[in-house]
């Protein structure tokens, strides 16, 4: 266990209030949990996780899945949590990580700038895609997108796909705002907010602090059941390919194939329990980079990609 990991493990249960400042101080570190030697060699597979959940819980939850992977591949598996997507990409560029988990927009950027390649797509409710939606309060009188003229909307973050790029695109395609992301209000919205997360965005709408929220379809599930009944989706984005599993450029073909085969075995009914820890996916489907062409096109449309 690394010093960093021990530090977090000691602090978190006893003084959870200190966790966040500590985590923030570690922002510029490459890894939150970094047990990986710089030159681990080809004898092991190194998996970088993105901390969308409690890192301590994630690191213990994924252990059975990683053990499964190790057994199936006949290869030592080391796993760790990075601080963010950039750190994961950097780890793969420097060959400190072989595989990682990504969402669509960071993936197309990472592919462009580091050559990482999507090999598996996640499945949710039997589908390998999801949507962003525009939610409003029932009874607000807002029935259609044009009713939001002169009103306010909360997105998630300026570089979020389902929490900004895709819902913004809904309004662009409806001809209500122009394509610029720099001033997303256009001449349509009174104010566009970036709430910082799906939960903050949809709660701001439910609480009546903004008129609409542009978030992932699954943000609805962050509300209590009675709150879900208070909101309605008035528009849906283009289809967003699901989050994915990527491998680094130059990973030996044999290792890559064994990894994909082992991950696909998790789809078997008896292995479904292993999937729950892997970002709650229902399973995996084989994908290649072409699956994310629509994301890259949209990233290009809004200036994230230049060519």
């Amino acid at each position: 266990m690394s010093r960093v990991m021990r530090f977090i493990r000691v602090l978190s249960p006893k003084a959870p209030g200190l966790f966040l400042p500590v985590a923030a101080l570690l922002v510029f570190s490459t890894f939150l949990f970094a047990p990986v030697p710089v030159h681990a060699g080809d004898k092991e597979l190194r998996v970088a996780f993105i901390p969308l959940e409690n890192p301590e819980k994630l690191i213990s939850d994924v252990k059975p899945a990683m053990n499964f992977l190790e057994k199936e591949m006949g290869r030592k598996v080391r796993y760790f949590i990075t601080l963010n997507y950039s750190a994961a990409v950097e780890a793969m560029i420097s060959e400190k990580a072989d595989v990682s988990f990504m969402s669509p927009l960071p993936y197309v950027l990472a592919n462009k700038y580091s050559g990482v390649e999507a090999v598996l797509g996640e499945i949710y409710d039997g589908k390998s895609y999801y949507y962003s939606r525009i939610f409003v309060r029932k009874g607000s009188g807002i029935k259609r997108l044009s009713d939001l003229k002169g009103k306010t909307i909360a997105y998630v973050d300026p570089i979020s796909s389902s929490g900004f790029m895709y819902p913004h695109d809904i309004f662009v395609r409806a001809g209500l705002v122009d394509g610029g992301l720099e001033k997303p209000e256009g001449r349509f919205f009174r104010r566009v907010y970036f709430a910082g997360g799906d939960q903050q965005a949809i709660n701001s709408m439910v609480g009546g602090f903004v008129d609409a929220a542009g978030v992932s379809q699954y943000a609805l599930n962050l509300l209590r059941p009675e709150q879900r009944d208070q909101v309605v989706a008035i528009a849906q984005s283009a289809r967003i390919p699901s989050h994915n599993v990527v491998v680094r450029k130059g990973l030996a073909s044999e290792i890559r194939q064994k990894f994909i085969a082992a991950m696909m075995k998790m789809n078997r009914p008896r292995n479904r329990g292993l999937l729950r820890a892997l970002y709650g996916t229902d399973g995996y489907v084989r994908v290649d980079h072409s699956r994310y062409k629509s994301v890259a096109d949209m990233a290009r449309k809004y200036g994230f990609l230049k060519e």
Partner: protein
Amino acid sequence: MKCGLKTPGARLALRVKHSLTISAWLLAAGLLVMSFRPASAHIVPPEELHPVAESYRRVSFILNLNPVLWPQVWSDMERIQKALGAVDLPGAKKYSAELATAKRVAQPVGRGDEEPDMVVARKNGSRLAFSLVTRGVTSLLISRLDGIKADSNREEVKSRLNEARRVFQAFAETLPHLDPEAWKRMQIHWLEASSHLGAAGVMGVGARPMDLGKIRENTAFIRRYFHANFSGFRAGKEHRFLPRPVASETYVETAKVPWRLPPGSDINKQLPRPRQILGMAERGASEAETFLIALGDMAFDSAEIFGEPARSLGVSCNTCHNKGVTNPKLFIPGLSREKGGMDVSNSFFAGHANNGLHDPLDTPDLRGIRFTAPYGRNGRFASLREFVRNVIVNEFNGPEPDPMIMDGMIAYMNEFEFLPNPKLKKSGKLNPGKVSEAALRGEKIFNRKFPLMMGGMSCASCHIPSANFVDHKRHNIGSTGEGNQPFHVGGLDTPTLLSSKFTAPYFHDGSLPTLRAVSEWFNRQFNLGLNREDIVGLTSYLEAVGDGVQGIEDTVYTLESELEEFKFFLSTYERLKQRKKKELITILLKTVVREVQAHKWDVQDKGNLPILNEMEKKLNEALRAHLAGDVKMTDGKIAAYHALYQENQDKLK
């Protein structure tokens, strides 16, 4: 219809697929506020709170109880002190000194013959503690905002802003009611501040500049508000402690703040559910014979028969006795000691019947309840009817129940069967071909008289195998401690051992986690002289007696069986109408509406949610028509609900 064995299907996953966020800080912070775990959708996941906000809300709840569970209060207040110490050392020292004072006031030590007045101590101690904890959280919030300096970089600003915003959530259950105008203004300031953070982009792509001036401008209002209202906060001599923002011009002095359960509470039903067996299913009763059972089933699932605050919180008999068995996860800080139990004579749910003691009871299994009189852990009620009425009126503050509701609940509870157990003969003796050698050895020990146990009794003296393992008496076996529990003087009712393998923990207070621990406790308590092998045997025997065929349902998908149950509830409508039981129809419709609202989210194919929404709409319209006295319309809407259900039943899984 209640067997629950026929609810197959794939699970519903609750998740949010979070989009890209490049900022390291945002992800580090976001992981603490978002939960993506799969679950059944009617199960409400706990709100993810900053530890300080969590402690503040819990302390605020517990300080309003009588008695106050001081160890939990001090633990939470010390947690806040530690968080404060990390950012404001002088503030933390002052807080620490005042905390010591609050402890002395709340839990005074008697001097000589002079006994302290504990009522005054509780009131004064609570007031001091609530005042201090409100000032402490305010201090932490302000110090995080003050940490945003003119030369702070983006990561520092994000970190402090986000932590302040999460600490601010400590007041999210009270300030929106006490000062809605200011609350809304502050929320918009948070959104503005967050929006001016800009973005670092992904590997530099998509970067936006931060506007620190705007961020500080927006947080200044929040800082001023908290400083003016809570930096010197002193709670008044009021009935309920609330963070009243008396310095605010928009403070609503007359506001009614609804009760919410504190962080750490879990009143969700467990999944998979316990398997319930009703006698009516075994004997093939027709609907004509089941009116009372259906009415009782509905009332058992209904928060409407209780009073406030249980009604608003959605607490019903089924909350604790899920499917007539137990809910082993149930926990409410300040009222529970162990999971699966709660103090039912408390000041929160029914202050008029509070006994002033923190005496949580393990929730008993109700299987076979018609065989296990008397009722109540201390056997204080001879009849089930008396007991149930007391639960409704005196434990959960309900109005006097209609006699028909009482008849129904008793009829329903009388249907609760023990799990079938092939390991036992009808005589209650073990079936030798079905159990281990160890269990057979244990049976002999169970029936052996021990000279040092209650004057030469055996285990079987009280848990009579041929009488469902009860003797209908109360015994004082010494499990209630030394004389500090007047409620239990006179002993406790002998519980049955049937189906007990599925109802851990054990004893009236849930203090023993396993049946082995029970065996060991008796061995110690009465010097039975059992060796390790004997303990293994006795435990094996208890496990065999307490066993049953499939104690837990084999699925977590419950929508199909729930909808069948709602149909069963609604089968009472015509007879209630004939008997002119308008109030009971109101309870029926409110209950089914609430249940459909909760369970519709469990539908596995979300494409079918609109059908359930429409069914819910029909029921709501039926309720409105009923309240308006329009019988024809009510009939029509209920019929429309049934038609929709009938037509789409195959899709609603």
